[in-house]
């Protein structure tokens, strides 16, 4: 593995993991919002 390939891979890992986590948070947020709306309707 050359230096520039390693740098690009590390760069992809840093932002890839953070974006994946943000995507996971957004998914979880949507599901909680949906559940909150269902609860309000059931009241």
């Amino acid at each position: 593995m050359t230096g520039i390939v390693a740098l690009k891979s590390a760069y992809a890992v840093v932002w890839g993991i953070q974006l994946l986590y943000i995507w996971y948070l957004v998914g979880r947020y949507r599901s909680v919002r949906r559940e909150m709306k269902d609860l309000e309707r059931s009241k």
Binding site: L7, A10, V14, Y29, M36
Partner: protein, 229 residues
């Protein structure tokens, strides 16, 4: 509050752009390692954010055990999760740097091993919170958060206490340590940017945890009403 949050996110994104430019363009290429040394500008700030997150988890766990404050518990959950994200980045970018520099991906030296143990401790913390049921889950998680934090200063000190394959401290490591000014600027900008990203992520996860707590409480109330009928 919402406007302030949006302004902080925009500030963080601008800071990230600027710090990336500093790390990849402005900072000079290191003479021995070449471009691969630039991983340092992401690896070390990620480790810093992970350490700060685990410290926040430690403090929030103490407050929860002391006051049984649910906000403290939500903050502990949020900070542990974000800490694991950044610790994962550290554990992956480290070997990517090591392969061209050391010729190996991994070695069981003190710094690497204690960092892996740290990651495992907080992954187990998240697993406990996710899968344990019952009223004692939050108490057990808080206890694990407090005792798990013991590994953070150990990770920090390993390169001072032992002769490790991992490089010795770049800053605060004695007379021969230190960075060239241009490198130091790039490093500090990245440290600031990553800290702001960490704050944004913890805040978002904290809000989410509080919403989940609300839903859980509403479900419990509904179940009680159903049982009463």
């Amino acid at each position: 509050m919402k406007n302030l949050s949006i302004a902080f996110v925009i500030f963080t994104l601008a800071l990230l752009g600027f710090s990336t430019y500093q790390a990849l363009v402005v900072a000079p290429t290191e003479q021995t390692m070449g471009d691969v040394q630039r991983i340092f500008y992401y690896h070390v700030p990620s480790a810093w954010v992970a350490g700060v997150c685990f410290f926040v988890n430690f403090l929030a766990s103490i407050v929860y055990l002391w006051k049984r404050n649910l906000n403290a518990d939500a903050l502990a959950a949020a900070s542990a999760e974000v800490g694991v994200v950044f610790c994962t980045i550290v554990l992956i970018t480290g070997p990517i740097w090591a392969r061209p520099v050391w010729g190996i991906w991994w070695t069981w030296d003190a710094r690497l091993t204690t960092t892996l143990v740290l990651w495992l401790i907080y992954v187990s913390y998240l697993v406990l919170r996710r899968f344990a049921s019952g009223s004692q889950t939050q108490v057990l998680a808080a206890a694990l958060g407090i005792f798990g934090f013991v590994d953070v200063p150990i990770v920090y000190m390993t390169i001072r206490w032992f002769r490790t394959q991992h490089p010795s401290p770049v800053m605060g490591g004695g007379q021969n340590s230190g960075l060239a000014p241009e490198m130091l600027h790039a490093f500090l900008w990245n440290l600031l940017a990553f800290t702001c990203v960490g704050i944004c992520l913890i805040a978002a996860r904290y809000v989410l945890q509080k919403m989940e707590n609300q839903v859980e409480a509403a479900h419990a109330q509904l179940a009680l009403r159903g049982g009463a009928r």
